[in-house]
Amino acid sequence: MTATAAPVKTVQGVTLRLDPAREPCFTVVHTDAEMADWPGMSDQSRRERLHRHMNNEAAALEIAAQCLVDFPETPWDLRMQLARQSADEARHTSILLQRLCELGGRKGEFPVANFEWCVTLMVDNLPGRLALENRTFEAGLIDILGSLRTTWRAAGDATTADLLDGILADEITHVRFANRWIKRLTEDDPRILLRVAQAVHYLRAVNEALGPQPGDTNIVGTTFTQERTQAPAVYVEARLEAGFTQDEVLEVLRQAGFRSILPEELK
């Protein structure tokens, strides 16, 4: 899909954008199966969750920043949103690094994967990248954070839960501006919808090729159960706040097996 001569890598037969720069202390891996991911909330698991999230925020920063570089003709107001997103993701990375260190962790303690960057940067147009990074990955993060805040609080760590709550609020704004801009750009030029559809189709194909299957295990022996490979419970209220229509939320719910974090008024 990419029209540029950007460097690429091949993972299990799938061509992806080469990883962004990481310090030598990091072990960069390419699939979920190579990640050290433990179930539960042991001290080690907590640090790994923060470490993984920290690297994902860094990747989100890198994607937003690279969009500013790759698409200089973008309307200024949208460039402002991408610049703001860059700063937000940088702040999130910093917050999570600090919390990781407070819990006794360190940079490079666990493997990292830059899947979002490697997939999104294969798309050669901004609406397609917004569809993947903001409307898919970040919207997925909204769902994950909706559950994770509760998980951390239940595990007795209100500090991390509060940090994730703050990050969630920012992520909602990133998804919202992408939803608004894709709608606006599509109204101006309906052919853009085709680019968005192509990007989503590409992601689906990559996920099918590289995603773990139920029964697979990762490098620390954790089994990918049916539940672990399933989409997270949908945070309906936050998705609506982020500008998804009710029909779109229903579609996401259907894909997630109708598992949801319901709005207060529906509980």
Partner: protein, 185 residues
Amino acid sequence: MTQSIRDRADTIATFRWVSVHLMETLARWVPSTPELEVKILFGRHIWEFAQHADALGRRTAELRAPLHFTLAPVNAYAAVLEELATVKGTAERLHGLYQAIIPDLEARYHRYLGETNRLLDEPSVRIIDRILADLARLQADAAETAGVRPDLRLADPKWPERLRTRALEVASFVASRSGSLAEVV
């Protein structure tokens, strides 16, 4: 002598070009800078330069130029910024931007404040006052980051000073509208 509206619009538009250029430079550096603390610093400051460009671009419309009117600087100054933009080393990026280019930019903003009629041009003055406060904070942020990464050393310790001298040698960075790539971004 009071600057003409056109002179002021052109200078503000040039500051805008530089702000957009620095925003893009930082954006280009983010994925290719390995050190996490520096990556974070650059990422946070992308938004700062974007806000400067936005405020300056709104001001150009009040000075009888188009909204977000943007004027490329004279070639010599653009070349200095391009040299910075293309450096690969993290220490060079850090010191080149925060110890050479930003101090030069501060000097140019101060010069503008010294030359404009502060009452007649008060909206520009307010914008620049805020930008100057931001630039001081950006340099403090960079110093803090350099403090936590003492391992980042310049290959040529005198390079930032040479870069700053080259910038200083460009007395006026404002190009004439006809001889420059004026644009509205």
